[in-house]
């Protein structure tokens, strides 16, 4: 039964992510707002190409908002983009899906990786340490939870899903009906 819950939940989530990706592709045709990072203080290792933001770190991006206590980013080479960012301590990320559905992710650490290998783009955010994602359907925990930003999918090891009892999502309602004890 638990397996069915997860399959149904991921099916619902995958549908949402697919729509989100469609919307994202539409947005990508338009001029994009820059990403802003604010913090109390910061260290820049110019030779080592590393930036360390400390204290009340806030990242404001058109696709998500992040807060944490410390954020370490590899500074890009000229003409390149950031490809490795580590957010640590009290990490919280809000990202909006279709129909203004906001997902809220929390963890001790979140690692962003971007690379292109043999023409294939890999872009992931890996949540570890008390990782939890709250969606309209419920709460997903796992260790780790990996958010694949290329296809907007979520995968998790040792995952556990807790469903909301009051939801208007059809898939989730059906799921609840299946899970409800007779």
């Amino acid at each position: 039964v638990k397996k069915i819950f997860l399959i149904l939940w991921f099916a619902a989530a995958a549908g949402s992510w697919s729509h989100a990706q469609t919307n994202t592709n539409t947005v990508l045709q338009m001029p994009r707002e820059p990403t802003r990072i604010d913090s109390d203080r910061a260290d820049f290792d110019i030779a080592g190409h590393k930036a360390i933001y400390r204290g009340n770190v806030r990242v404001n991006d058109p696709q998500m908002k992040l807060t944490c206590a410390q954020l370490v980013a590899d500074l890009p080479q000229p003409g390149e983009r950031m490809n490795h960012i580590v957010a640590e301590t009290n990490v919280a990320i809000d990202f909006v899906q279709e129909k203004n559905q906001t997902n809220h992710a929390t963890s001790d650490q979140a690692v962003y990786l971007y690379n292109v290998q043999k023409g294939v783009t890999n872009e992931t955010v890996t949540f570890t340490g008390h990782a939890k994602i709250e969606t309209a359907q419920g709460w997903l925990t796992g260790e780790p939870i990996i958010w694949n930003r290329v296809n907007n999918s979520l995968t998790a090891r040792n995952q556990k899903m807790i469903y909301r009892q009051t939801t208007t999502n059809a898939a989730a309602v059906n799921t609840n009906r299946v899970s409800a004890p007779k």
Partner: protein, 164 residues
């Protein structure tokens, strides 16, 4: 008040870091080529530029360029620099980082600059821009600390996603 005018650039001073370049700058105040040494006078440089080159075999490539509108020597090997601009370059000549500050104090003994004022840092391609209030720049290990109100703006192309 005497002025030490004229840019040091393009003098090819092959030194290890900009701190040493500034040390030379200080030395020039007191032992300048025209014998302008006036121990009792107040001297400063204006519109100065100095460059640092990569080590051999890339000794023809500029590693960093330091410029300022004014440099005022202070006691204890300190220099008050106005309109500081530090540019670093990659080995293939691309602008890497540009650091600008309206005013700072440079310690020629510690090879470090600091200020309670404003500072801006940006990458050569202009896609990464940082501003803040109060900073410490350690030249020896190329380490910059911004103490307050750090604001970073990352520009991305219309077809790109951002990082986190």
């Amino acid at each position: 008040m005497e002025f030490f005018r004229g840019a040091l650039f393009p003098m090819k001073i092959k030194l290890n870091n900009a701190g040493l370049i500034l040390s030379v700058l200080v030395a020039l105040f007191f032992c300048g080529p025209r014998g302008w040494s006036q121990p009792n006078g107040v001297k400063h440089a204006s519109d100065f530029t100095s460059v640092e080159y990569f080590a051999a075999p890339h000794q023809q490539q500029i590693k960093s360029r330091l410029s300022g509108a004014e440099a005022q020597p202070q006691a204890g090997g300190l220099l008050v620099i106005k309109q500081l601009k530090l540019e670093t370059f990659t080995m293939d000549g691309k602008a890497e980082f540009i650091v600008e500050a309206p005013e700072c104090v440079y310690d020629t003994q510690k090879n470090a600059a600091n200020s309670s004022g404003h500072l801006q840092l940006r990458t050569g391609d202009g896609k990464f821009h940082v501003a803040g209030e109060g900073f410490l720049w350690r030249q020896n290990d190329s380490f910059l600390t911004i103490s307050n109100q750090v604001r970073t703006v990352i520009e991305t192309g219309p077809a790109e996603k951002t990082g986190l």
